[in-house]
């Protein structure tokens, strides 16, 4: 009978994709965490300054730094910290001595809700606009979509955020202008609080998805397989959904993979505008307070988010377009 290692071909392909993606992202993770960790040495910040103030004696500073293990060699500290990170231990805040991982978990729900909704709006809006434009290139619809995506892509997220607050929240009173309601308090309050920030984040995604899909559709309709499908007598709807859109999905996923980091990063600004206590706000507050372990924790979490999102994108890419599985 079959040997234990002989897996189903599809499962083996999936594992190969995952292994390849991990191979790409391990160096990224190591470089990023090393830079993150080196920040403390570069900044010259110390918990002693936060706890003892400016007039502390050198002995007192040395004692506090010894407590935090900061008198050890740099690489020893890095190894210990990285070991903790891999076990999910992000260290302790210098400001209030709380576990950093706990603090970040508190804000992550807000940030992920907003990012997920922004992705949904971005994909739905972008696919609708892109398909409308790509099906009839050079038509009036196409030109309108092109103009719209051009405008959307030059509007910085924080400008959009302020306009949304000014018009929809303060002006018309349709949405709350600040704050967050967790999902447990009901779907509607939750949606009402995250819609505007998600909208502010999503416009850039809408523009990029729409452009990519438009270009994808226009080039796909010139391909031989479309002509072949027409000759075989397939209807336009079937050609669009089964052949053209399926082929356009790959580049679309790649665009989302590239967009995701900026979606996570922009949380710093949107959460400030909309008064959300997410992890972007936490990063900003901690950074301005000089709380190095907290900042390092947020950065590590953001790297993990980006890396795992790209991992999922790569696996999906492998399934949708097997030919692209070999690329990044």
């Amino acid at each position: 009978m079959s040997r234990p290692l002989q897996l189903l071909p599809s499962l083996r392909r999936l594992l190969a994709t995952v292994a390849r993606s991990v191979g790409i992202f391990v160096p990224v993770f190591l470089v990023a965490t090393f830079v993150t960790f080196a920040l403390r040495s570069l900044s010259g910040l110390s918990p002693a300054r936060l706890q003892l103030g400016e007039q502390a004696t050198p002995e007192a500073i040395a004692a506090v730094e010894g407590q935090w293990g900061l008198d050890r060699p740099f690489l020893t500290q890095y190894a210990a910290w990285l070991g903790g990170v891999l076990r999910g231990d992000l260290g302790t805040s210098w400001v209030n001595g709380t576990d950093v991982a706990t603090l970040i978990r508190l804000g992550l729900g807000v940030s992920l809700s907003v990012a997920a909704l922004a992705l949904v709006i971005g994909v739905v809006g972008g696919v609708a606009l892109g398909t409308a434009a790509g099906l009839r290139p050079t038509s009036r619809v196409d030109r309108a979509v092109t103009a719209l995506t051009t405008v959307l892509s030059v509007l910085p997220g924080f400008v959009v955020g302020i306009i949304l607050v000014a018009v929809l929240a303060v002006g018309l009173g349709l949405f709350p202008s600040a704050g967050y309601a967790p999902l447990t308090s009901g779907v509607w309050p939750w949606l009402a609080h995250i819609t505007l920030p998600a909208l502010a984040l999503s416009l850039d995604v809408v523009a990029d998805v729409a452009r990519q899909l438009r270009t994808g559709l226009v080039t796909a309709y010139r391909e031989n397989y479309v002509t072949g499908a027409v000759v075989r007598g397939l209807g336009p709807r079937r050609i669009l959904t089964r052949h053209v859109l399926r082929n356009a999905t790959g580049p679309l996923l790649a665009v989302l993979g590239l967009k995701f980091p900026s979606l996570v990063g922009a949380a710093v600004v949107t959460e400030w505008i909309f008064g959300l206590q997410g992890f972007g706000r936490f990063a900003n507050d901690s950074a301005q307070a000089g709380d190095v372990p907290a900042v390092q924790g947020v950065l590590v979490v953001s790297i993990v988010l980006v890396v795992s999102f790209n991992l999922v994108v790569n696996v999906l890419l492998g399934r949708v377009t097997p030919a692209a599985a070999r690329g990044v």
């Binding site: 790409i24 570069l42 400008v159 607050v165 303060v170 600004v269 900003n284 950074a287 980006v306």
Partner: protein
Amino acid sequence: MVRRVLTLPSGRVAVGVLLAVGLLALVGPLLAPQDPLATTTDALARPSVQHWLGTDSLGRDVLSRLLDGSRVSVVGSLEVVVIALVVGVVPGILSVQLGRVFEWASLRIVDTLIALPFLLFAVAVTALLGNGITQAMVVTGVLVSPLFFRVSRAATLAVARSAYVEAAVISGASVTWVARRHLWSKVLPPIAVAFAQTLGVGFVIVSSLTFLGIGVQPPAPTWGGLLATSLGFLDQQPWAPIAPAALIVATVWASNLLADAIRDVTGEAGRDLLDRRTRRSATAPSLSRTGGTP
């Protein structure tokens, strides 16, 4: 190339807007009708003859603050581009020339920089390194440098392995001649496009940082900072964000327009060298036909 960009209407508009913004940065602080830091009792005033754009919550003249803040905002993003150019182009060219180890290492670093949520990193790193404008510029410059790295690497790869360079070298051309004659004309267009794009990106990041109050000390005005203060008084002055937001959007839009115009006049040769991340896709097919003839 400059003259051909100016033959395009979009190129003329882009250059015009950018020159106007640059001029504002040069002379704006001198034009400020009042002291941008002087507080008066006339707080949150509506626009009037005395205060064209009204006053903020501390009674400071908003127009003066807008003009005075233009220098930090504009010069800041120019610095970002120059830093990104140096940090990106030099390793980009060396990655082709210095052998496999350096190539592998530099590519991994660039992969990392692209994967980073860069606004988050810009905020965190700048604040930790002392929260000054120099730190903000250097950090942002490094974070946006992969664009220049990729462009210059691709251009160097294309040129270094081309037959005509080999032919020129064999026929006894000096290195400087080859560089001037073949390399420069190939490398310049994509770098110019990347320059214009980075100008827009850098401007957004610098504005975002100043919006959060990072990289500047409190009383000093910036365009991003003006937006941030307007946010707190939207119910009394709903029009306050319009002026700084319009200036920021106009600058970013002009930078993107310039990038598109350069790409259109330099044609496909320049486009090939830009990867999918830098390519703003073929959204303006009608423009490319009008360019090309000087």
